[in-house]
């Protein structure tokens, strides 16, 4: 009897406290689920994205929550970068009733997890998955947030034509959608704009041996005007060293995968490389200010722009929740899909009129003397961007 009464008192007290907290802020508590690779092969992308995401979520909660009324609790599950574990995590989060789901920076686990949240009508976003087929492979609840491969490829092709390059050699790897499709999108736009593809090569991810491939490139006659690849570490530095070692001097175009300190650490052979990135921090720009703020809060500057793109997601979500006035699945989905020109650190984000991979600005940078300098920032022309 005493025990029941104590329980009852305790329960009432707790309920009152909870009610008081909600009542005071006029807020509702919701959970957002994150099934991302905090260890394993995706950790280099998912860890920094999560760091930015949490920082923005804390800021939004402090200001009263998403749309001014939803205080968010995060349920973060590590998927060990395993697609099966991602599916399991997504199932648990969906069963728990999360209102929004974040999936890893890769197409396969994002599509697998998205199919579960799609069925449960929970809007879902990939951290920095760039494959433009992610969204259509899942359905109308799946959203991208990062500049898509076909957009990056379009800007690179336009840059190549503007530089007067007529022929291009394309190096790709069938081991991932990113390393295969991005160069293919590039070749498509480059040819549409009047360029020719002088040759194509392939490599295996992580192989690091490019001697055989560059010997073939060196034997090409005439030499290509430009070499384009979406290779990233460790393949890109190994490729570049082997290529310059074989005496090939053609300029190189790369993608956002080489936006890391390793590329600038390669010395003189990196001079003249032009590559895409989600954003380049300059003094006074919103991204530059974010980098300064992040360093002030954590004591270290962001190691990569993924911190910034992760930080942008809660603010994109906030804009959608404000527009929808609710976090109910269908309404939130529609609000997200109709977002236009939401200001973010690296420019603005638009979903209206897209297949839910956002239309957003991409920056081209050039490496000279161990440092990057921005060449231009532009939003790819939708008429030129190849279909996914």
């Amino acid at each position: 009897m005493t025990r029941t009464r104590r329980m009852l008192t305790l329960g009432t007290a707790m309920a009152l406290c909870g009610w008081a907290a909600v009542g005071a802020a006029g807020a509702e508590e919701v959970t957002i689920g994150l099934a991302t690779g905090q260890t394993g092969g995706l950790a280099p992308f998912d860890q920094p994205s999560l760091a930015g995401f949490r920082m923005a979520m804390d800021e939004i909660n402090a200001k009263g929550g998403l749309g001014g009324k939803y205080i968010v609790t995060l349920d973060i599950k590590d998927t060990r970068s395993d697609t099966g574990a991602t599916v399991q995590a997504a199932q648990e989060l969906v069963a728990e009733g999360v209102k929004f789901l974040i999936t890893p920076c890769d197409a396969d686990p994002s599509i697998a997890a998205g199919q579960i949240s799609q069925a449960a009508q929970i809007p879902t976003m990939t951290f920095c998955g760039t494959t433009p087929t992610i969204t259509d492979a899942v359905g109308d609840y799946m959203f991208g947030s990062y500049p898509a491969d076909n957009g990056q490829a379009t800007l690179l092709a336009q840059h190549a034509i503007a530089k007067g390059y007529k022929s291009a050699y394309v190096l790709k790897s069938p081991d991932s959608a990113y390393t295969l499709r991005l160069p293919e999108y590039f070749a498509e736009v480059f040819q549409k704009l009047g360029g020719t593809v002088a040759g194509e090569g392939t490599y295996s991810l992580g192989q690091q041996d490019f001697a055989a491939e560059v010997t073939k490139i060196a034997a090409l006659d005439p030499q290509p005007d430009v070499i384009m690849t979406a290779a990233y570490e460790p393949d890109f530095p190994a490729f570049l060293k082997a290529l310059r070692g074989a005496g090939v001097t053609a300029p190189i175009l790369g993608s956002d995968g080489i936006d890391s300190p390793t590329t600038t650490g390669l010395g003189d052979i990196a001079n003249g490389i032009v590559h895409t990135t989600a954003g380049f921090p300059t003094d006074g720009s919103p991204l530059g200010e974010f980098y300064a703020k992040y360093e002030a809060v954590t004591g270290a500057a962001p190691e990569t722009v993924y911190v910034a793109t992760g930080y942008e997601i809660p603010y994109i979500l906030d804009a959608a929740v404000t527009a929808a006035g609710t976090m109910d699945g269908p309404a939130l989905r529609d609000a997200l899909a109709n977002l236009e020109n939401v200001p973010v650190l690296t420019g603005s984000v638009t979903y209206k009129g897209t297949n839910r991979m956002p239309l957003r600005a991409i920056t081209l940078v050039e490496i000279q003397g161990g440092a990057r300098a921005p060449i231009e920032t532009a939003t790819p022309d939708p008429a030129l961007v190849p279909a996914p």
Partner: protein, 295 residues
């Protein structure tokens, strides 16, 4: 002809690195019947030591020696902490232990250092090229050929001329008899791990010089190549490991050079096809170990 010569040189240079990697596995396997899948993480340890040394402007030769030493210490430490308690376990348990060591080290690197790659910028002299008549060779590939030859020579001398080397060869053939001769088992095994760690450190220096960075998962590909090479060569056989390394390197480069473009994405399938053919022809590998012990 020039194209062929150049590709042959490319093949020898790659085969050299694979030979060094496979030797590291073989030294340990020959004595304790363990395929050490944590061998790649020993390379990562060496890579991080290189990174720190170069960050603090330590001269390169000292940095490389420190990296090799660190890998040897790390190898001996894993032996003491993880493999010695499992000494009497069967080979499968030992192999699983090595997977566990590998997984633990990877997560420690990811959460303790950084999930992002750390740059290891090398002096510009090391990215130069030398021309020999019709063929060209980069400084790093040339260094791999020379270092492989030197390491093989040093290893042979060590195994043939020193007491510990002889003890290790004897242990590979019959461990019980070696113990009956009064040689301390723990010391021989610890030496084998340290030697394997040194080989991991040497190959890490060459591997990192090629890639320009070190990251937590860096060891996966090399240990896979080393495993394939030592299986082709004959598990536990040192000369087999070298032969297997070169066979793998040559197969990879020649297929990359001569497969038609449409078949290139399947290059690894062709290479592994050759591996299967070799194993059908010689199930125990090219140069089988004398004991015939298998995992």
């Amino acid at each position: 002809m020039e194209f062929f010569l150049q590709q042959l040189l490319n093949a020898v240079s790659l085969g050299g690195i694979y030979a060094l990697l496979a030797l590291g596995l073989a030294v340990v396997f020959s004595i304790v019947a363990l395929i050490n899948f944590a061998h790649g993480e020993l390379m990562t340890v060496a890579g991080y030591v290189l990174f720190v040394c170069i960050l603090y402007a330590v001269p390169l030769p000292i940095a490389v020696v420190a990296a090799i030493g660190a890998a040897a210490v790390a190898a001996a430490a894993t032996e003491r902490l993880a493999f010695r308690p499992m000494r009497r376990a069967d080979p499968t348990s030992l192999m699983l232990t090595s997977f566990a060591v590998s997984a633990i080290l990877k997560v420690l690197f990811q959460n303790g250092i950084s999930a992002r790659p750390k740059p290891v910028p090398l002096p510009p002299e090391l990215s130069g090229t030398l021309t020999f008549g019709p063929v060209r060779l980069g400084t790093v590939p040339l260094a791999s050929i020379l270092v492989t030859c030197l390491s093989l020579a040093a290893l042979t001398l060590f195994l043939k001329r020193t007491v510990m080397g002889k003890a290790m060869r004897a242990a590979a053939e019959d461990f019980q008899v070696l113990r009956l001769m009064g040689i301390r088992a723990n010391r021989v095994i610890a030496a084998a791990f340290a030697l394997s760690g040194m080989l991991a450190g040497i190959s890490a220096a060459l591997w990192v010089a090629q890639r320009g960075s070190v990251d937590p998962l860096m060891g996966f590909v090399p240990v896979l190549k080393a495993f394939v090479a030592s299986v082709i060569g004959g598990l536990g056989s040192l000369s087999g490991a070298v032969a297997g390394g070169f066979a793998l390197g040559i197969a990879e480069v020649l297929f990359q050079a001569y497969l038609p473009e449409a078949a290139l994405p399947f290059r690894d399938a062709f290479v592994l096809g050759v591996v299967i053919l070799i194993l059908l022809w010689r199930p125990d590998g090219l140069i089988p170990a004398k004991t015939g012990r298998r995992s």
